[in-house]
Point group: C2
Amino acid sequence: MNSILITGCNRGLGLGLIKSFLKLPTPPRHVIATCRNLQQAEELKSLAEQHSNLHVLQIDLKAIDQYENFAKEVETIVQDNGLNVLFNNAGVSPKSTRLNFTKSEDLTDTFMTNVVAPIMLTKALVPLLKQAAEANASAPIGPTKACIVNMSSILGSIEANSDGGLYAYRTSKSALNSATKSMSIDLKGNGIMAVALHPGWVRTDMGGSKAPLSVEQSCAKMVQTVMGLGEKQNGAFLQYDGKGLPW
Amino acid sequence: MNSILITGCNRGLGLGLIKSFLKLPTPPRHVIATCRNLQQAEELKSLAEQHSNLHVLQIDLKAIDQYENFAKEVETIVQDNGLNVLFNNAGVSPKSTRLNFTKSEDLTDTFMTNVVAPIMLTKALVPLLKQAAEANASAPIGPTKACIVNMSSILGSIEANSDGGLYAYRTSKSALNSATKSMSIDLKGNGIMAVALHPGWVRTDMGGSKAPLSVEQSCAKMVQTVMGLGEKQNGAFLQYDGKGLPW
């Protein structure tokens, strides 16, 4: 893999993914990490001082009108080789739980960050993904060609929902799964695949301290799963270790 | 069934559903039809002149701050018996198709009408649904007790998506399915059930002229399916004739 771009990297799973990709025996030539606020991304900046293949870009993903300019920034890094992997990781999880406490602003804000942003960012970066697929025309479908990985959650699985509640978060992740499936069909002809990935229940700000997986454990498995993606997984919903999940 | 409320009734499936419920051998004592603009709802108004059990209420479902007042209007109609069935039918379908033509405004507007509105309207009407469930405590789970029916679409099925595209519409209906499942769990203890319903491919403005089902055919089947709902269907995704669909 020549290049990967991961959104939402100043902490949590995004930061963990960056570290795991940098630790690969053969790390990508370009690891592009985005964060909303460079000033708050101390760890990311110090990583970039140690790793010349790490590029940190600042973007507020709610500013969709900035995506075209952002794609140009990415292009100056990856150049003619295009972008191999777009990992839409950035997401939010509001606190609202039961129907009675659900707020319309939580529903719309969560949808904006967890669904609209990854769809529109993917749209903006498709030309670079296409370029990578063309530059690696003889490679098999997968991360050495071109992949979109959307950070989903088991909470977006309608089938697996046995606890109810969480309207804003669940609807956003089910919607993202829906978009992932459409991407996997629409872009197949261009050699670009798409998957939805559940990180497991991880000890992050979002997952809480009781979660069974550390950020390092989840991210190491997710990187392994992403590196092993192939045609068979196109349009699938996978958990961190590659196991399939129901919609 | 004592009372049913259906949203988006000035044309298409909403109007068809109203006609089908009014045609039942024993029609509901109160059929409440909502429309955005009373002045444009000629057919609905003329139906109301012929059927004293039909109440036409005007509400712009995007005005969520009006829902509490709206619930009071509904209460003056159904009184102490509460509301047996809430049928969230109103919806939009923007024209955008492939990723390259997807607009963020289409995604957010569609989510607002197809997901946020039915969730928030359900929240506002839950007290009346609870009242109906309590007033019919000895009745089996179903429409004689209290039901939420959310108008979904097979296009919201992630599993059945083999054509891709339609990001705004598909994500909204997958998200609505996700919310339906949570409602079916959250409200079960109150004797209120929830299902997602696919109307089939129908000759409406949305379905186009090549669709195999007429509005009358689809609505007659949907009414039959709603009247036959029971505990077994709680949290299910059904098509017009009651057949189960994959998420």
